[in-house]
Every structure is written in structure tokens, then in C-alpha cells.
């Protein structure tokens, strides 16, 4: 007679409909070599009286060791829970509970080995799981290797027939009785893992799972997609891509770096946290293990062979994370990819990519699993130029040496040489997903592509814009990003539609990372079939490549998406991941035929997807309300000058010299270039003109009759231009709140500008500037105004002093306060 106090392990056996097989399960539990094993049979309202008779017979044969409970039918989970509750209450010295199904068996040493693993598994070990050796339909399935929650999310390899620690059950973990169609065990292990427990594999355990043509499992497998979706729904936190990223970093890091020169490898997720060195021999051993058993042994998916100078150049340009991210993306297209870094010659980053040779690449990317399994194939790919080649132009690119390619070739040749000491494959069936691919499958299951490999350190905000050139919008965003950084946010730049970034003064200091969308999808393209009241919407939204954009952005706490169609297309999905999405709006434009056009109109199609919108003028705010934006979603962030001036403001006096006028800006049609041309020609006899800028949207500028100076970027050059000029001339056809006007005013340079957009909000006609009609009379009015100012220098002096006064105290920190407050409000 076994006393309750002697029981150390209870085998909970739910019994329903298996009276013929129940004695086998019971017998296997009763013949364990581990002392102190009892069985708790929960007769789950089985309609066959043989079930309880068999259980009673076993109770008679094994006094005190077989406990029989009968309850109304509640399903497998309910029966297990009843047995667990009973065992915890009835056996004071219980150490663990084993779940044995009535049609399965365990070999005599099973519980001894399982308990050893459970109790020696280290802190947090909650359960010990076996390999799955089938009875009947013979199949032996390997579940070995370190426990990985990511792997468990992908494939439920933890059999219900696992030994569970008392500590885990005392935390209240029980099976979910609402899951009666299957996968209740998977759901249970996932919940256990969320509670901080891990499982451990029991080698050579001796678990026998009865596999028949029809069974509860066979039923579940028929509706596998439905049940998997249910698992995801119940465990949203786990399937959040940021959570997958953290687990990936902890369990299955994505990257391995092999620095040229044969120095040790590094295995990591975030290139800024490269982890401890891994000697090359150990890394090769990792590869060999992953080749032999990819489901049990991890090898990073992206293996980079790189020249240290190339990595330094990427880091200097804030492109290190982007480069690793590109590695994941490019390796979707070929087994081998690489980057050729080339000097851009100016402050610019741009790229092109296509299939091609990598003989001059400073960085080689190799797919990890294929590096492990078929290094010869990769060597041929590299030799034959069957690779994806990305040419990245950036400042400070190192010289081409060919060393990365040579080292990659040598490594591949060494790995391809047969080695008698290769680790053996397990004899059981390897059925689980390769560890190196698990994370990407999980990201894909929630619609996300390769993740930006950055481990979170604070509050991140993504500044998403279609291009990053010298335009006013980019300058505004850069200034706003500076304020955000000062307020404790970490800004990141994402350029969605142009493979081109102009590095403005402050770009690299302000943005933590610089990222470009890869250009495999229709990032900037409108979808002609889905215009919203004629305004463009994004084709990218329903393109599979948009998953990569999500991969770039899901790690942000907030994003500010300005004028980016691709960004709009991602906003709703980002919001589902908890990313707070704000739209940046600068103006409601007009097209060539004065038709409503541009981003403000497109933005209306996406209003629902955003938490709010930043508008730069009161006029635009009212426009948005008129268009249906809820007023409370609109945040007024008026523009301020686009750079920090080093000059002292000087009100223009009445000098006895010719008047000086300046045009500064993009040389695009929007800026009223024919008005500029006509005005210059009509006034050259009494005004000295300067024109600085360049076309951004394409097309050569007209002949202004004066030389065109390059655009000014630096504060010093801008101060010099505004300091030189008495008048800033801006005859634009449409504008938002032009920075040039604010910058000019700040230094006493008087704006003469068309009354478009919200210009009237920053220029009071005849007080601190001069407004022109935005019509056919514009040039005539401009010439008249210039003549008047030339004739009456005291008028000019008054306007200049008033302009300086208007701008006094108008800085970005003050302008951004409402947005910062909104961000701080949950």
C-alpha cells in the first residue's frame, strides 16, 4: 500500500473511450523504475463501463497507487486539470505531474530520466519533454536541442506527455478547457513560457505515442490553420514582431560576422551589440552541427564576411543596421549577396542593386543554413557571379581590395572539404523548421519581412519621408527630429521612395540610423485603380514587398510619416503593432491645371490609420477639419527657421547702393520660375540679383539672366546669402510655410512672396514683408513693389526691422511642444 506521502510523481491519465488501451498506459506507469509513482485516472464521463472497471482493477492490483476520479465529460483539458488539482492536493510530497494519455505508453526508465532533467534543468525549468516515438504507425520524431520558445511557436514539439514541475502548476497554469478541437497542449506550453518557464528535452526518454489513421490529433491536423490562428490570437504578445525580435536576439541570433583577416566571428542580433568573440573553429563547428541537425542547432541566417573598414564607413554614416537589414533582404533573392561601397564624392548616400559579380565587394552576405549544408554551391555562386550585388555610394567608402571575396572563397572552400569529424545526424526524423529560418517564418506569419536589427534602448521615433534632399520639408523634419532627440526620443530616418539621401548638416548627428527602403516593390507608385476622389493612394499597400517596410518600422514607438505614400500604406498595420502613427502635412497643393493634388489629398485616404497629424499652419489645420479630419487629431506645429543662424540680425538701412534681391530654393515649376525670370529681366537695371538652388523634381531650369549658384546647406552659407540680400523673392504658385521666408525675416531680409498657402500667416503685407497676388498680375505687382522699395529705402528699413521682431523667439523647441505633449500622452 503506497501512502499519499510517498507519492513523488503523479501520472494523470484522462480516460475516455479507450478502455482496451488504458491498462497498457497504467501498466507502463506502474512499472517505472522511479519509486513513488502513482496514477490518477480521470474517467471523463466515459460512456463505456469498462473504463472505470479497468481503472478499479488497476487500483485493486496496485494498492494506494491508482487513484480513480470520475466526472461528467468536460474534454481532455478539463480531465487533465481535475487530475492535476487532485494530485497537488492529495500528495504532499509531490514533485511533478506527468500527463499520460490513455492510449500511450512510457518505457520503464522514462520518469526517472524525465525527473532528472526537470530537476537538474536549471532555474525556470518548468517541464521536461520527450522525443516522440510513435506506436503503430512507426515514426520517430526528434525534439532535441536547447529549448527555444520561437521554435515552439513555429512547431509544437512539446508533447502533452511531458513531466511538469510542481512549481509550474502551483503558479496556477492549467489547460484551457475552451480549446476542445486540439492544440490545447501547444497553448498550455506557450502560456507556461510566457509565465517565465522553459522546457528541457529528455534524451532517449522512451515515450511511445500511439499513432493511428484516425485520432484526435488527425482531426486537429485537418483544421491546423484555424487552430494556429487561434493560438496567435490568444498569444498576441508573443507574436508581436518586437517580441519575436527580442526572442530572436536571445535564442536564435540572426547575424554572424566574419571579419576579414581570420579574426574571431561574432554572433548577434544588433550590430551595435556584437557579443563575445567566437573562435573560427568553434564557428565552423556550429556550422557542422547545423548541417547535421538544423532543427536542433542554430546557425545565424545572415553570415557576413566583411572588411572592417567597410563596417567603419557604414557606422560613420549611420548605415550599419541598414546594411545588416539589407543582408536579410538581399538574401531572399540569391544565396549570396554583397555590397560594393563606393565613394559618393559628396555628402550623399545612394544605392543601386541587381544580380552580378561580387569580386570587388567589401561585404559578402551568405545564407547561414546553406553555408552549413552546401558550401560548395555557395562557392560556385560566388565564383560564377550568381549573386545579388548592391552598389552603395557613401562618403568615406574604403578602397576596393577584393579581400572580403577572397576570404569568403577561402572559408567556403574549407567548409566544402569533406571532414571525417562531421557531427552525425540524429537517427530520428528531423521534422521541425531549421532554427535559422524560424524567426523569418514567424515574422511572415504576422505579415512582416526582415526586421531592422536593433534592440530597443529607449523611445524610438521613425521619421519617414519619400526623399531626403535639400527641400524645406526635409529641413523641417530634421529640425523637428533635433527637438525630439533633445526631448529624449531617438529619431531614425527612413527614406521610402528614393534610393538617395542628401546628408544635410545635422543629418548624421540627429538620426540614430539612416535607412532606405530597398526598392524591390512599388514604394512610391500610385495605384491607378484605387484613387480616392482622384488623389493617389499607394500601390505598395497591397504589394508583398510592403512586408519589408513593416520590418523596418515595427520596432519604432512612433512614426512621423510625411508625404510618403509607402509610409501611408504601412500606417494601419504599424498601428496594430502598437506603433503610434502621425502624419506630417505641409500644404495642400495644386496641380498644373490648378486641380487639387498632392499629399494632403492623398492623406485623406489614410486618415483612419493615423493617431494624429502635424500641420504647419492654422490654414492647413482648418483645411483638414473641413476635409473631415477630427480636430482633436490635428496638432499645430508651425514652422520655424530651418537652421541655427550664427549671424546677428541687422535691420536694413538706407544704403546708397543698388538694391539686392535673392531667390533661394528648389528650381522647380512650383516655385514660379517664369515669374522669377520675368521679374529679374524687368528689374536688372536697378537690382542686383542672385539665384541659388537646383531642380529637385527634374528638368533643367530656365535661363534667368543671372548665374545659378549651388544650393546652400550650411548655416554659414545661408547666413551669407540672407545677410547679402535686402529682399527675398519667392513667387511660388503654391507653398506651405516656406522656411526661407522665416530664415530671411530672422536676419532682416524682407520677403516679397506670393500670397499662397499659409504665407499670409507669416508675412503681414506692408508690415514685415510684401505679398503678391498668385495670378497673372504677379510679375507686374512684383516689379512695382521692387520699384517702390528701391525708391523708398525707409519703407524697406521699416519692413526689415518688423521682420526681425516677428521672428524673435520663434524656435523649434517652442513650436514642437504640442507634439511632444501628445507623444507623452498615452
Amino acid at each position: 500500500m503506497m501512502a499519499a506521502g510517498e507519492v513523488t510523481v503523479a501520472c494523470v491519465i484522462p480516460a475516455y473511450g479507450q478502455p482496451g488501451l488504458l491498462p497498457e498506459a497504467l501498466n507502463s506507469a506502474m512499472t517505472q523504475t522511479l519509486p513513488g509513482v502513482a496514477a490518477v485516472v480521470v474517467d471523463d464521463g466515459c460512456p463505456f463501463p469498462e473504463t472505470s472497471a479497468q481503472a478499479r482493477a488497476a487500483a485493486a492490483r496496485h494498492p494506494g497507487r491508482v487513484h480513480v476520479l470520475r466526472q461528467a465529460n468536460g474534454g481532455l483539458s478539463a480531465a487533465r486539470n481535475t487530475g492535476i488539482d487532485y494530485a497537488l492536493a492529495a500528495f504532499p510530497n509531490l514533485r511533478a505531474v506527468y500527463l499520460l494519455d490513455a492510449d500511450n505508453r512510457i518505457e520503464p526508465h522514462f520518469l526517472r530520466r524525465a525527473l532528472d532533467v526537470l530537476e537538474q534543468g536549471g532555474p525556470g525549468t518548468g517541464w521536461a519533454y520527450p522525443d516522440i516515438d510513435s506506436l503503430g504507425m512507426e515514426e520517430c520524431s526528434d525534439t532535441s536541442g536547447e529549448f527555444s520558445l520561437l521554435l515552439l511557436m513555429q512547431d509544437n514539439f512539446c508533447e502533452a506527455g511531458s513531466l511538469i514541475s510542481r512549481a509550474m502548476l502551483e503558479k496556477g497554469l492549467r489547460f484551457d478547457t475552451s480549446l476542445r478541437q486540439g492544440f490545447e497542449d501547444a497553448e498550455f506550453w506557450l502560456r507556461a513560457a510566457r509565465a517565465g518557464f522553459v522546457g528541457r528535452h529528455i534524451p532517449q526518454s522512451g515515450f511511445r505515442y500511439r499513432r493511428r489513421a484516425e485520432s484526435m490529433l488527425a482531426d486537429s491536423e485537418r483544421i491546423r490553420p484555424v487552430l494556429q490562428e487561434e493560438l496567435r490570437r490568444r498569444n498576441r504578445e508573443l507574436w508581436h514582431p518586437a517580441s519575436i525580435l527580442r526572442m530572436e536576439a536571445r535564442e536564435l541570433p540572426r547575424h554572424a560576422l566574419l571579419p576579414v583577416g581570420g579574426t574571431p566571428a561574432h554572433v548577434f542580433m544588433d550590430p551595435e551589440e556584437p557579443g563575445p568573440p567566437v573562435p573560427r573553429a568553434e564557428f565552423r563547428a556550429m556550422l557542422a552541427r547545423a548541417a547535421a541537425d538544423p532543427a536542433s542547432h542554430h546557425i545565424p541566417h545572415v553570415v557576413m564576411v566583411a572588411e572592417p573598414a567597410a563596417l567603419a564607413a557604414l557606422a560613420a554614416n549611420r548605415m550599419l543596421h541598414a546594411a545588416w537589414w539589407f543582408g536579410s533582404v538581399l538574401l531572399r533573392h540569391r544565396r549570396v549577396a554583397g555590397m560594393v561601397l563606393d565613394e559618393s564624392g559628396d555628402e550623399r548616400i545612394s544605392f543601386r542593386h541587381a544580380g552580378g559579380s561580387l569580386e570587388d565587394a567589401q561585404i559578402i552576405f551568405l545564407r547561414g543554413q546553406e553555408l552549413a549544408e552546401t558550401p560548395e554551391q555557395l562557392r560556385r555562386d560566388l565564383s560564377n557571379g550568381d549573386a545579388w550585388r548592391m552598389r552603395l555610394f557613401l562618403p568615406g567608402a574604403p578602397e576596393v581590395t577584393g579581400e572580403a571575396t577572397a576570404e569568403a572563397q577561402a572559408e567556403l572552400a574549407m567548409l566544402g572539404t569533406p571532414n571525417g569529424d562531421a557531427p552525425p545526424r540524429p537517427w530520428r526524423n528531423v521534422w521541425r523548421c531549421a532554427r535559422s529560418r524560424v524567426a523569418d517564418r514567424l515574422y511572415a506569419s504576422v505579415g512582416v519581412g526582415a526586421p531592422l536589427p536593433r534592440l530597443k534602448q529607449g523611445r524610438d521615433i521613425g521619421i519617414v519621408q519619400p526623399l531626403h534632399s535639400r527641400g524645406g520639408v526635409e529641413r523641417v523634419l530634421l529640425r523637428q527630429a533635433e527637438v525630439l532627440r533633445r526631448a529624449g526620443w531617438t529619431p531614425h530616418l527612413f527614406v521610402s521612395e528614393r534610393a538617395d539621401v542628401t546628408l544635410l548638416p545635422g543629418t548624421r548627428d540627429t538620426y540614430e540610423t539612416i535607412n532606405l527602403f530597398p526598392g524591390f516593390g512599388p514604394e512610391g507608385a500610385p495605384d491607378p485603380a484605387r484613387a480616392y476622389f482622384g488623389a493617389e493612394t499607394a500601390a505598395y499597400g497591397h504589394d508583398p514587398n510592403s512586408a519589408e517596410g513593416l520590418g523596418l518600422l515595427f520596432g519604432m514607438d512612433a512614426v512621423l510619416i510625411t508625404h510618403s505614400l509607402a509610409g501611408h500604406a504601412l500606417a494601419a498595420r504599424l498601428r496594430r503593432f502598437g506603433v503610434r502613427c502621425f502624419m506630417g502635412l505641409h500644404l495642400a497643393e495644386r496641380g498644373a491645371w490648378n486641380q487639387p493634388a498632392g499629399q494632403a489629398f492623398s492623406g485623406l485616404a489614410y486618415e483612419h490609420a493615423y493617431d494624429g497629424a502635424l500641420v504647419i499652419s492654422e490654414q492647413l489645420r482648418r483645411w483638414c477639419i473641413g476635409q473631415g479630419w477630427p480636430a482633436s487629431k490635428l496638432i499645430l506645429v508651425p514652422n520655424a527657421p530651418g537652421y541655427d543662424s550664427q549671424a546677428v540680425p541687422v535691420a536694413r538701412g538706407t544704403p546708397q547702393r543698388r538694391l539686392r534681391a535673392l531667390f533661394l530654393g528648389r528650381l522647380d515649376a512650383q516655385k514660379g520660375l517664369e515669374r522669377l525670370t520675368d521679374t529679374i529681366r524687368a528689374t536688372q537695371d536697378f537690382i542686383d540679383w542672385r539665384v541659388a538652388g537646383k531642380p529637385v523634381l527634374g528638368g533643367a531650369p530656365p535661363d534667368f539672366g543671372v548665374p545659378v549658384e549651388p544650393p546652400a546647406d550650411s548655416a554659414r552659407d545661408l547666413d551669407a546669402l540672407y545677410g547679402w540680400a535686402d529682399i527675398l523673392f519667392l513667387p511660388s504658385r503654391f507653398e506651405g510655410v516656406p522656411l526661407t521666408i522665416l530664415e530671411a525675416q530672422r536676419l532682416g531680409c524682407v520677403p516679397l512672396a506670393t500670397d499662397v498657402g499659409a504665407v499670409a500667416e507669416i508675412v503681414a503685407h506692408g508690415q514685415d514683408g510684401w505679398l503678391l497676388p498668385n495670378d497673372a498680375q504677379c510679375t507686374q505687382a512684383a516689379v512695382a513693389a521692387l520699384r517702390a522699395l528701391d525708391a523708398d529705402r525707409s519703407l524697406l528699413a521699416g519692413l526689415s526691422a518688423a521682420a526681425i521682431a516677428r521672428l524673435r523667439g520663434r524656435g523649434w523647441d517652442a513650436m514642437m511642444r504640442p507634439f511632444l505633449e501628445r507623444l507623452d500622452t498615452p
Binding site: V41, V42, D43, H67, Y86, A89, H109, G206, P424, W427
Partner: protein, 409 residues
């Protein structure tokens, strides 16, 4: 209202039990009975015999409960978990219930006997078919086996005197295993030396093959140990247990790979190879191995024919002996004796050419000795305890216990 049960595990593990209402008479039957009484605001079931102990809530109906002996429906049945149990007004009702159950059990027994007869007939036909098949399959020349696994011997260090033991789990399944080979370096060994090898199906702990090779049969190079026929289709992991017992002055070097002996494993199709190895231990094949690290006792039958108590005359010697101890799978023996009269007696444990040397009894007369088991003792060997008296008093010694443990140390 909750029903609390004292000795709940007793109630739940009873194959048959009764609950008694507060006023029902206890029955003089070999049936465990619990009486339910009002207990404050609730109810408590207390065993009629024996101590109750802690009371726990009744979580579900006890599987072995026959019913409730009660003239009417007790109030506490209202909260009964699940279908209400049978109400038995008196012993006659219980008799009727037991009779019905007895008849049902006999009917089930009849069904089972008929099923067993059918199954046995089927099994006998299967045995006859298997025997025919084996005889005819054995007419063919043995097929050469396929090499499944081969280590490259890296070094062949000489073994120390005494026992050496290794255990190696291989990434192979047992099914179809036809031969195991070890690689030997320098060998100069005689009959006192033995090499033992077991092929174990790791999950179930069954021995798939066992060999004992005497020293004089050992030679340099690969030592091939054949199974009489390919191993049964056991889908289990193969593990090798290798034990070498090296006699004094003998030399034996075992080639290693890393820190384990280098091995080859060969597989053949079932019925494609029948070979008889002179070193094969028929008695061990198919036996379950004892659990690792657990000191196991032996059945009482080992003492049949044994000398368990002996008187040692002054200045004289005597011997205790177990004539046949089943040592398959064990690596260490432990004998416990007690001096039951006299003093100054020494003992020495011996088995298969190995011994502990003389050991003194402790002051309290207790005497314990441990001895590593040589492969020469596989699968069954006599075990002796030599006794000698140091002085003229002599004494009597009783062999109290012998136990053994798996593993080499």
C-alpha cells in the same frame, strides 16, 4: 456546501468503497467505509477504520465508490460532483449491487478469456510462421553488412590494471544492427583479462546484444562482435557499454576517439545474416537493464543453495557463497555481513577472479564490502565471501544482504 474527506487519497484509490450516512450502521465487510457527518456549516467524511488525517474537498466522484448507505437521500448529495452515486437503503441493497457487479465482472472475465484464447492462437500461429521463416532464411549465405558508423582511431592508450568502463550513446537506432567493432592497440593478455560489451536500446533499457571476450581471444586491430542475427526492429537509440577487466601484468590498449573507445557499427537486413559469435551472451539479450545509479536488490531465490551463515573456527577459515548471482548489467556489488558471535573476523568478497582483499568487521559487528564486477562475471556468476579468524576465538558470520548497481564506478 463542500464535502471534506479525511484520507481523500485512500477513498480515491480504493477499488471499492462505501459512504455511510450519519445514522447508517457500519457494515462488517472488508470494504473501506467513510461516514459523512455534519461539520459546522459543511460536511465531513471520516474513515470508519484507521486514522483520517487532513480533510480535503472532494474534487470528483471516487471511481471505486459503490454507493451511499442511507435510508434517505442525505442533504450533502445535493452538491455531489457529477452523477449522484447509488443510494443503498440497507445491506440487502448493497448485496444486490455487489451481486450485479460480480455477475458483470464474471461476464467480462468470460469475454477476456475468450479474447485471450483467440489472441493466443493467433500468437502461436505467428510463432510457428516466424520459426519457419527463420529456418528458411538461414539457408542463405550471410550478406555482408553495411557500415553505418566508423570512428577514426586517434590514440590507443594502455589501460590501467583493474576495471575500466565507458558508456557511449550513438546517433543510431538499434533496429537492424548486425555487428559492433572495437579497435585494439597493443594486446598481451591472458585468461584473467576480459572485455565485455553491451549494446543497449537506450529508451527501454533492453539489452540488444552482449559479448564477453576473454583475454586470450583479443588481438590488435578491429575486434568484430557479431549479433547472431540483425537486431529486432526496435526504434530506439543505440548505446554501447564497454567494460575491460585487465589482469595484473597483462597489457591492453583500446583505441580512442576523443575520450571514448573508437567503434564501428554495421547494419544488415533482417534475415540476411545469421552468424554465431563465440563471445555472444545469449542470456543477456532482450533483458531489461537495471536503472542507472540505483542500488538494486535480488530476489530471495538467489539464496537457494547459498551458504548464508558460517562459523569460523579460531585461527581457521570458512566461506559464504551465493552459487549463481545474475549480474547482467551491473557494474558494482555490495555485500553486507554481520558478525553474530565472536570477534576478530576478517572477510573478503570475491567474484569472477576479482576480490576486495581482507576487510575487518566494525566494532558493532557490521561488515560491508564493495567490488567492481568484471565482464568475466556476465551474466551469472558465483559470489563468495572468504572468512578468517585472526585469533583463537573465531566467530559466526551471517550474510545479510547483497545489492548491485549499474555503472562502472
Amino acid at each position: 456546501m463542500t464535502l471534506l474527506v479525511e484520507d481523500l487519497p485512500g477513498l480515491m484509490s480504493a477499488p471499492a468503497a462505501l459512504l455511510l450516512a450519519e445514522d447508517a450502521p457500519a457494515l462488517d465487510l472488508p470494504l473501506p467505509q467513510w461516514r459523512v457527518r455534519a461539520d459546522g456549516a459543511g460536511w465531513r467524511a471520516v474513515p470508519e477504520r484507521g486514522a483520517g488525517g487532513t480533510a480535503l474537498p472532494l474534487p470528483a466522484a471516487p471511481g471505486g465508490l459503490l454507493g451511499v448507505l442511507s435510508a434517505g437521500a442525505p442533504a450533502w448529495l445535493a452538491d455531489w460532483p457529477g452523477d449522484a452515486p447509488a443510494l443503498l437503503p440497507d445491506a440487502t441493497a448493497l448485496s444486490a449491487l455487489l451481486a450485479a457487479r460480480l455477475l458483470g465482472a464474471e461476464a467480462r472475465l468470460g469475454d477476456l478469456a475468450a479474447s485471450l484464447t483467440t489472441l493466443r492462437a493467433e500468437h502461436e500461429e505467428g510463432r510457428v510462421a516466424m520459426a519457419h521463416w527463420l529456418r528458411s532464411a538461414g539457408q542463405e549465405a550471410p550478406q555482408p553488412p553495411t557500415l553505418l558508423h566508423a570512428d577514426t582511431p586517434q590514440a590507443a592508450p594502455g589501460l590501467p590494471q583493474g576495471l575500466s568502463h565507458w558508456r557511449r550513446v550513438l546517433p543510431l537506432e538499434v533496429a537492424g544492427m548486425a555487428a559492433v567493432a572495437l579497435h585494439l592497440g597493443t594486446v598481451s593478455a591472458g585468461p584473467g583479462t576480459a572485455l565485455g560489451v553491451r549494446l543497449v536500446a537506450e529508451e527501454s533499457g533492453r539489452v540488444a546484444g552482449a559479448w564477453r571476450v576473454p583475454g586470450e581471444a583479443l588481438g590488435e586491430g578491429w575486434l568484430m562482435l557479431d549479433l547472431p542475427m540483425p537486431a529486432p526492429p526496435w526504434r530506439e537509440t543505440a548505446a554501447l557499454e564497454i567494460t575491460a577487466a585487465l589482469a595484473p601484468h597483462d597489457v591492453l590498449a583500446l583505441s580512442m576517439t576523443g575520450d571514448a573507445p573508437a567503434v564501428q557499427l554495421l547494419r544488415a537486413r533482417g534475415a540476411a545474416r545469421f552468424l554465431h559469435s563465440p563471445w555472444w551472451l545469449e542470456e543477456e539479450a532482450g533483458r531489461p537493464m537495471p536503472p542507472e545509479g540505483v542500488w538494486c536488490g535480488f530476489p530471495a531465490s538467489i539464496w537457494q543453495g547459498a551458504t548464508r551463515v558460517a562459523r569460523v573456527p579460531g585461527h581457521g577459515q570458512a566461506m559464504l557463497e551465493i552459487p549463481a548471482l545474475p549480474l547482467a548489467g551491473f557494474g558494482m556489488l555490495r555485500a553486507e555481513l554481520r558478525l553474530v558471535g565472536g570477534s576478530e573476523v576478517q572477510a573478503a568478497l570475491e567474484c569472477a577472479g576479482r576480490g576486495t582483499g581482507w576487510v575487518d568487521a566494525q566494532r558493532d559487528g557490521h561488515l560491508a564490502m564493495s567490488l567492481a564486477v568484471s565482464p568475466a562475471a556476465w551474466p551469472v556468476a558465483p559470489v563468495r565471501v572468504q572468512l578468517r579468524a585472526l585469533g583463537g576465538g573465531g566467530g559466526a558470520v551471517e550474510w545479510r544482504e547483497i545489492r548491485a548497481v549499474r555503472g562502472g564506478s
